[in-house]
């Protein structure tokens, strides 16, 4: 079935809002309240217009009816709402659900809010044993990403420099961001001397662990005009893809769901990788960015080392990426910060603004590359 291109540009991100990021020691409901309040203020609307509240399931605590608890804490009785578990791909996915629900006439204005506190609270999810294989010492997301990275190095000879290029770009951009959790730039000497945590993954390949909240308000472009939203950013396309939970069951360890997810989103948006002026790519680990670039079609499979060389991902480079620092430097929260930075780039208000940015590609990714969601934002 063909992707519905008629949605292109008919929905917008009307407002964005976030808390501070880092070790906050605050409960998730107050983080939601602050992020939502700021996002609504940014959109120039009151909470009375919101009739859908979608949230990601927090990793630090699993509660029944969490989505309803959040809506209650925000004093909103939505028509549509709930908590969605898809790991780090959830935020873009919830924006897509909101659009489809609004398109079907089920609701009009959606608040998509994220909050979690794994830094100060329970981080067990990120370090947990992997199912029946725990007895072999198979632990933590990092083990899974390491297995994928090794296989990429085996099949394509991917050099250390490629991984370093990703980490150095994110850290350079984060260092410039006053709101970033980690503002220490990373030199090649620092990176290449970085200790192995789970070889081949080094400390500087791994993202931060952060508390924080971040929200967006989504509505139709038409509703945004009626509500006199000051700075709406059009959504051009979105797409999804998912694969196995158990890593050994995957036919290929070196192909991600960025392939299917990206194809759908690019088709809906009517753009291709060469039209992208700035990218906000999920960088839980450096390998994720490299494989996402290949699978979105920015370069041939196995050639990403050439693509990211010479500061291509840094501000002023061919494809500036994670211009506020991403998960490696701004905050380890899963993905909403990338959407926010995309919105700022297209509004022309980013801290490290890409001149004339008119198409921003955003990726979200969950689990050990189990789930992938793509969002393409535009400027008109």
């Amino acid at each position: 079935m063909a992707t519905d291109r008629s949605l292109r540009g008919r929905y917008v991100i009307a407002g964005i809002g976030a808390t501070a990021f880092g070790k906050l020691g605050r409960d998730t409901l107050t983080l939601h309240a602050e992020a939502a309040s700021k996002a609504l203020a940014d959109a120039g609307v009151g909470k009375d217009v919101v009739d859908a509240v979608f949230v990601k399931t927090p990793t630090s605590s699993k509660e029944f009816m969490y989505g309803q608890r959040v809506a209650e804490a925000l004093g909103i009785a939505p028509r549509w709402g709930g908590a969605w578990d898809q790991g780090g791909a959830a935020n873009i996915t919830l924006i897509a659900f909101a659009i489809m629900a609004i398109e079907a006439g089920q609701c009009e204005v959606a608040l998509i809010s994220y909050a979690d506190n794994p830094r100060s609270g329970n981080r067990g999810f990120y370090e947990k044993a992997r199912g029946h294989d725990a007895a072999y010492g198979w632990f933590a997301a990092m083990g899974g990403y390491g297995m994928i990275q090794r296989r990429h190095m085996i099949e394509h000879g991917t050099p250390l420099a490629a991984f370093g290029a990703v980490a150095m770009a994110a850290r350079r951009h984060g260092a410039d961001n006053p709101n970033a959790q980690l503002r220490k730039p990373l030199s090649w000497d620092d990176y290449s001397a970085s200790a192995f945590l789970v070889d081949p993954i080094r400390r500087d390949d791994a993202c931060l662990l952060s508390d924080g909240g971040a929200a967006v308000v989504v509505m139709s472009a038409k509703r945004a005009r009626q509500l006199r939203v000051p700075s709406p950013v059009p959504i051009l396309g979105f797409g999804e893809g998912q694969t196995t939970c158990d890593l050994p069951l995957r036919a290929s360890l070196t192909t991600t769901e960025a392939v299917r997810s990206g194809r759908t989103a690019f088709e809906m948006a009517g753009v291709s990788p060469r039209d992208v002026s700035v990218a906000q790519l999920y960088d839980c680990f450096t390998i994720t960015v490299l494989m996402t670039l290949e699978d979105y079609g920015f370069c041939e499979k196995g050639r990403v080392a050439d693509f990211v060389a010479d500061g291509a991902l840094e501000i002023g480079g061919r494809l500036p990426f994670n211009t506020s620092g991403g998960l490696l430097s701004e905050t380890g929260t899963p993905g909403m910060q990338l959407i926010h930075e995309g919105v700022r780039q297209l509004r022309g208000t980013a801290n490290l603004q890409v001149p004339g940015a008119d198409v921003c590609l955003v990726s979200n990714q969950g689990g050990i590359m189990h789930t992938h969601a793509t969002l393409i934002l535009g400027s008109d």
């Binding site: 007895a135 010492g137 297995m147 360890l253």
Partner: protein, 132 residues
Amino acid sequence: MPTQSPALDTDTIHEAYLAGLAEGRLSLQVCVCGHRWLPPRASCAECLASKWTWEPAQGSGRLKSWVVYHVAFHESFRERVPYNVAIVELDEGPRLITNILADSAALRAEAKVRFVPSRQGEHTLARFELVA
């Protein structure tokens, strides 16, 4: 008292798999539709039926990927770091998470490996050694 290893899944299917390992036998599941798989599960993910039987694996395979843990995410591994965890593809097709009983520096992609039943606490695990 030594620290306990992380608990193994002990549903009916895993108990049967572990019982085979305890007798020195690595088994995989084969369905009437022809699909073969590990890790153990109760129904076939191809045809969705539950008409499968245990089949002894040859025990030979190839090393597809591996990692070396330099940090312990569980107390019982604190004295084992650095240790490897690998993905091995059996000659029959199924892949599994395992450890290679070798110096991690000696591991090479696509290296031939052979099943070795390996005692750990009260269980026997399916580990592999490099074939010279």
